[in-house]
Amino acid sequence: MGAIELDGLTKDYGDVLANDDVSFSVETGEIFGYLGPNGAGKTTTIRMLLGFINPTAGTARVLGNDIRDRKALIEAKHRIGHLSDDQAFDEQATGTEILDLHAAVKGDERRAELLDLFDPPLDRQVRDYSSGNVQKLGLVTTFMHDPDLVILDEPTGGLDPLVKHRFAEFLRAERERGVTVFFSSHILSEVRRLCDRVGIIRDGRLVTVDPIETLLSRSGKVVRINSAGPIPTEFVDIDGVHDLETSVPDGHVADPDTEFTECTFTFTGDINALLARLPDHEMVDVSIEEAPLEDVFLRFYGGDEDA
């Protein structure tokens, strides 16, 4: 049984179909990234999973509890941590007062440990907090009761790079302890660093669910070639080459219509086949790099899935 199982989850606001028949599952003990730009429907999914809004159709199970069963879902929240995308606390309360309330309702086994990692100014009123400190306080409330499942909506917004790094380390350690993490993001590098699998949502529809490696291999490699002499363009005009750009810089003698000395492209085929095709020319520089996840993203959003 997965920690989270979505079954045709749909939220129709009339003018907007915020979630359209979304189905996938998050396995126990994995870090699952829920990726999509702002407005894609990530928060809508999360808010349905937590019972804040009712699905128009379909349902989901969280830790085995149907989200339409209000009682069971509330009971399950003893084992769930949630960080909202717009975390907000009583402005007139101090951090300590907030934590005491949360502790009284759901427990605080890990409070001290978490406060070592994320250290919001507990004696101050929340109204004086920076957004980073609100987020830190939110991380403490999310994990303080030692949940089995955490649902994080854009968790790193507002955190400075050092705390972001600490948070990433912490999340990995949580996975080692067997905690399931479901987190939404529109920041791709973050997802790539942390996630085992990724679901991509676009305009309320789930586009794909893949292990992160598959996503990266589907996205291919970025190849840059810089040769001393001209190479005929047909040598790189093969299957698996996308977004080809060739050029002949000043000072090189070549026909720019049929030849190049510099080129870049994204390659999704077998890299050995490509290297074998390259003629016996003297190379100035060749680089083969993993495609940035942004490109993967753009590909899905461009709707051109096999590119």
Binding site: I53, I74, D90, H102, G138, T141
Partner: protein, 261 residues
């Protein structure tokens, strides 16, 4: 259980102290003003001098005794209208304010049901309601003693006790507004408007063919004049107010539990 009630109650203490002090000042002023009024004029004439709708609105029966004077100046005005409106207004932010400010998701990510959250926070209204009803009667009785008037202690205490269900019923109106509207400012305005509106309906329609409409008004079941002047306590009215409050709480819970946030 009761974590949210306790948390909210603690948050309400400071405001409740101010409220109790404010209402005590109003009480002191009313008691202090009475002798100079009663010496300067015939208080029955003062009553007659009020326009008829006002006599009706404030349910002015007599001003020729401290009891009658306080019933109008302090309790009809201060309790039935001012405090009733204040409690309704205050209750209107119980749910709406947290939704408005994006705090509801954080609260409900804790293992707590929406009906329980609403009920516990509503219960915390008990802090201002009790504070004002514990402090003010003492102030009223001491002030009366100081000007050489005597009030029936039992009647004053009974009046304040009977005002508790009245104020909670007004709070119930606010709670309904609080779950109906996402914006605290709108919920508060609606709560104020509705509470004052039904007060007007109740007081101005008395004696007309539409008098029956006033049955929905909490004000019908709490009458300071009867308690202070006649020494009669409307226990059935108090029971109706408790019933009214319960219905308003349940309606709020039912609406709150099924709505999208």
């Amino acid at each position: 259980m009761l974590e949210f009630a306790r948390y909210d109650a603690a948050k309400r203490i400071k405001g409740s102290v101010y409220l109790a002090v404010g209402m005590s000042l109003l009480a002191t002023f009313a008691v202090w003003a009475y002798p100079s009024y009663s010496e300067a004029m015939d208080m029955e004439q003062l009553r007659e001098a009020f326009p008829e709708p006002m006599i009706q609105a404030f349910n002015i029966q007599t001003m020729a005794s401290l009891e009658g004077f306080l019933a109008v100046e302090l309790y009809m005005f201060g309790w039935v209208i001012l405090l009733g409106l204040y409690i309704a207004y205050s209750a209107a932010s119980i749910i709406a304010d947290d939704i408005d400010r994006g705090r509801m998701d954080t609260l409900l990510s804790m293992p707590v049901s929406r009906p329980r959250l609403a009920l516990e926070r509503f219960a915390a209204l008990g802090v201002p309601i009790l504070a004002v009803n514990v402090v003010t009667p003492v102030v009223v009785l001491v002030s009366a003693d100081l000007i050489g008037e005597s009030l029936a202690v039992v009647d004053v205490v009974a009046l304040h006790l009977l005002s508790i269900p009245y104020l909670f019923a007004c709070g119930g109106i606010g709670l309904v507004a609080s779950v109906l509207f996402d914006r605290a400012s709108i919920a508060q305005r609606v709560a104020l408007g509705v509470t004052f509106g039904i007060y007007l309906v109740e007081s101005l329609l008395t004696g007309t063919d539409y008098e029956g409409l006033g049955a929905i008004a909490p004000m019908r079941y709490f009458n300071p004049n009867e308690v202070l002047i006649n020494g009669t306590y409307d226990l059935v009215g108090a029971a109706i107010l408790i019933g009214m409050m319960s219905i308003l709480i349940i309606v709020s819970q039912l609406w709150f539990v099924q709505r999208d946030l």
